[in-house]
């Protein structure tokens, strides 16, 4: 409760006290958006943690060895993540559903365990110290980037591109027989997701003093997926709400902080069963109706969501 009292009565004090939390919320929201983009086109890609790692490592390695300004480093990191996205997407996007999810998990772990641990320039699993880290100054770029990215993605989902994605999500065959270039649009979604995830990784290194390879495993990707699913994937605000809600939750309910994963798990299951469209999203509860409940209690409309 103190959390909210302070938030509304003393926002400045609240900000000063919770800077790290706010930064983390921002990062998580951007990551959730990156997963949302591919999800919106009907692809469950779990490669985000890998692209994040590429963005993060590129930024730090560049600022270690080249005298470029930091924003340039971060952009290079994001672009490189996009390029890797293109190379990974070419073979992988032929796969559907669960197979795509597994292949992207394979990519994340192969990158982390196979490449990062074995290439000397990445510190071979020891991690890298970040010379340009600035925990306080790093928050502003995050808070500026989040609304800009959200706006861009929101515009994209409203444009022709977004309509094509929605069509592919609902029925790939119907979409392609209506003249939508399915592989192209899937690839665009995959690359945009990769660039955003790489950018989020670059932003995150800016508030940490250390790049740790264990941060970029499948656990992280699944966390991002949780944000998007709980928040809802019908529009771009769902993932943001999910990230804010789930990142702040352990702070709000301090008693359960050590059981946060239990709480997260329960929320995830309840949402996926009763509210597949997420917190944000139209419609009521998709009630699994017990026999004694009147039929009018169950949601009749199928919510517009890939879940």
């Amino acid at each position: 409760m103190d959390f909210f009292i302070q938030l509304f009565t003393d926002p400045v004090g609240f900000y000063n006290q919770h800077e790290l939390l706010i930064a983390q919320i921002g990062i998580n929201a951007i990551l959730a958006i990156s997963l949302f983009v591919t999800f919106y086109s009907g692809q469950l890609s779990l490669a985000n943690a890998g692209f994040m790692a590429i963005g993060a490592y590129t930024t730090v390695i560049l600022s270690l060895y080249l005298p470029l300004p930091l924003p340039v480093n971060m952009l290079i990191g994001a672009v490189l993540a996009g390029l890797v996205g293109l190379m990974v997407g070419l073979p992988v996007l032929r796969l559907r559903g669960v197979f795509l999810a597994i292949a992207t998990i394979g990519f994340v772990e192969a990158l982390r365990l196979g490449v990062i641990l074995n290439v000397p320039i990445t510190g071979e699993g020891q991690g890298l110290k970040n010379p340009t880290a600035d925990p306080l100054g790093g928050i502003l770029p995050i808070l500026v980037s989040l609304p800009i990215l959200a706006y861009i993605v929101w515009r994209l989902t409203r444009a022709r591109l977004g309509q094509a994605w929605a069509a592919i999500r609902e029925d790939e065959l119907a979409a392609s027989s209506n003249g939508i270039n399915v592989p192209l649009y899937k690839m665009i979604a995959f690359i945009i997701g990769a660039v955003i995830a790489g950018y989020a990784g670059a932003l995150e290194t800016h508030i940490n003093f250390f790049v740790d390879p264990t941060e970029y495993g499948v656990t992280r990707t699944i966390q991002i997926l949780t944000f998007a699913v709980v928040g809802g994937t019908t529009n771009v605000f769902g993932p943001i709400v999910g990230a804010v809600f789930l990142t702040a939750l352990p702070e709000i309910v301090r008693q359960f902080a050590s059981y946060r994963d239990v709480v997260n798990g329960i929320i995830l299951i309840l949402v996926i069963i009763f509210r597949p469209q997420g917190i944000v999203g139209r419609g009521g509860l998709a009630l699994i109706r017990p026999k004694w409940l009147p039929a009018s209690w169950s949601a009749r409309e199928r919510p517009a969501s890939a879940l």
């Binding site: 073979p91 999810a101 772990e109 365990l113 699944i222 995830l268 996926i272 890939a306």
Partner: protein, 304 residues
């Protein structure tokens, strides 16, 4: 080198046992059960808790743990899978709800300390423990210059016997026929009078019991029991195994398990432990991209 290949066979047996349960659920329900690795972990944790905290001899403890894991499978079916089937959700939804259950299982063990609510189950928090010395007899054999530990031999025998039994059940019993019918075509099976929901429940029971058994054997052989053994050691490698063998194919999962054990040992011998860690995922990625039906060419429709 021969010693290394022996190790490959032992670790391969565990992979195979774990992956058989994984692939069984995928074959019959068309669902990837990501809580399987948490059940694997609980198999080891429950056995350890019965032996070390409650002073039970190893064998009855192991039997109880396997049965409890089977019941956890039923929990997965009733909490995470059945409600989603009732609303005709796409298979991706089940993937996510089982992730939720896995999070819960792991967090419960990881937060269990002396004095906490679950201290009867686990008292070591996030730490790694091993079975108390002497709880399990472990004679060592020396054959032809090779050292074979009794526990590892036990694992190999258990794994092989169980997989043969499973093969028999699937191929020749009424339950197995029903399983294969449901895997082939759910609607046709319903029309033939097979109670599909009951088959799904039995599949989850069987699969989770095997997963728990694999877990306790792992804890026995590797002497490493912690809340993270499922997530870190077998969850994703298990995926690699069932992809290598062809998703949903049981013989494929067995062969894939041994193959992965062999690949890992070879990578370790040739390139060291850093490469060993990544090789499973590189294999997973390559197989999915080049040959999504698996190395052994199981046709996707004919999976069990």
């Amino acid at each position: 080198m021969t010693q290394q290949i022996l190790n490959a066979i032992f670790i391969g047996s565990i992979y195979a046992l774990f992956a058989v349960g994984y692939t069984l659920v995928f074959g019959v329900l068309d669902v990837l059960n990501l809580a399987h690795s948490a059940v694997f972990m609980l198999g080891a944790v429950i056995t350890y808790s019965l032996v070390a905290l409650h002073g039970m001899p190893f064998l009855p403890a192991a039997v109880i743990a396997v049965l409890v894991c089977g019941l956890l499978g039923l929990l997965i079916e009733f909490v995470a899978l059945r409600p989603l089937r009732r609303r005709n959700a796409p298979p991706i939804s089940a993937l996510i709800s089982t992730i939720g259950l896995a999070l819960i299982f792991v967090a419960i063990v990881e937060q269990a300390n002396p004095g906490s609510f679950f201290s009867w189950l686990w008292q070591d928090g996030a730490n790694s423990v091993r079975f108390p010395a002497g709880a399990v007899p472990n004679p060592t054999f020396h054959v032809l210059g090779l050292t074979i530990e009794g526990t590892k031999l036990l694992i190999l025998i258990t794994a092989v016997v169980l997989m043969l039994v499973l093969g028999y059940v699937i191929r020749f019993t009424q339950l197995g026929r029903a399983l294969r019918a449901v895997a082939e075509n759910r609607r046709a099976a319903t029309l033939l009078g097979i109670q599909v929901d009951r088959i799904f429940a039995s599949t989850l029971f069987l699969s989770s019991a095997l997963g728990g058994l694999a877990g306790l054997l792992f804890g026995l052989a590797i002497s490493d029991i912690s809340p993270y053994i499922g997530r870190d050691q077998v969850e994703l490698k298990g995926l690699a195994v069932i992809v290598l063998g062809g998703m949903g194919s049981i013989p494929g999962a067995v062969l894939g398990g041994y193959l992965l054990g062999l690949i890992e040992v070879l990578a370790f011998v040739r390139f060291g432990s850093n490469v060993e860690a990544g090789v499973a995922f590189a294999a997973l990625f390559l197989v999915l991209v080049i040959r999504p039906q698996g190395l052994f060419g199981a046709r996707l429709r004919e999976r069990l």
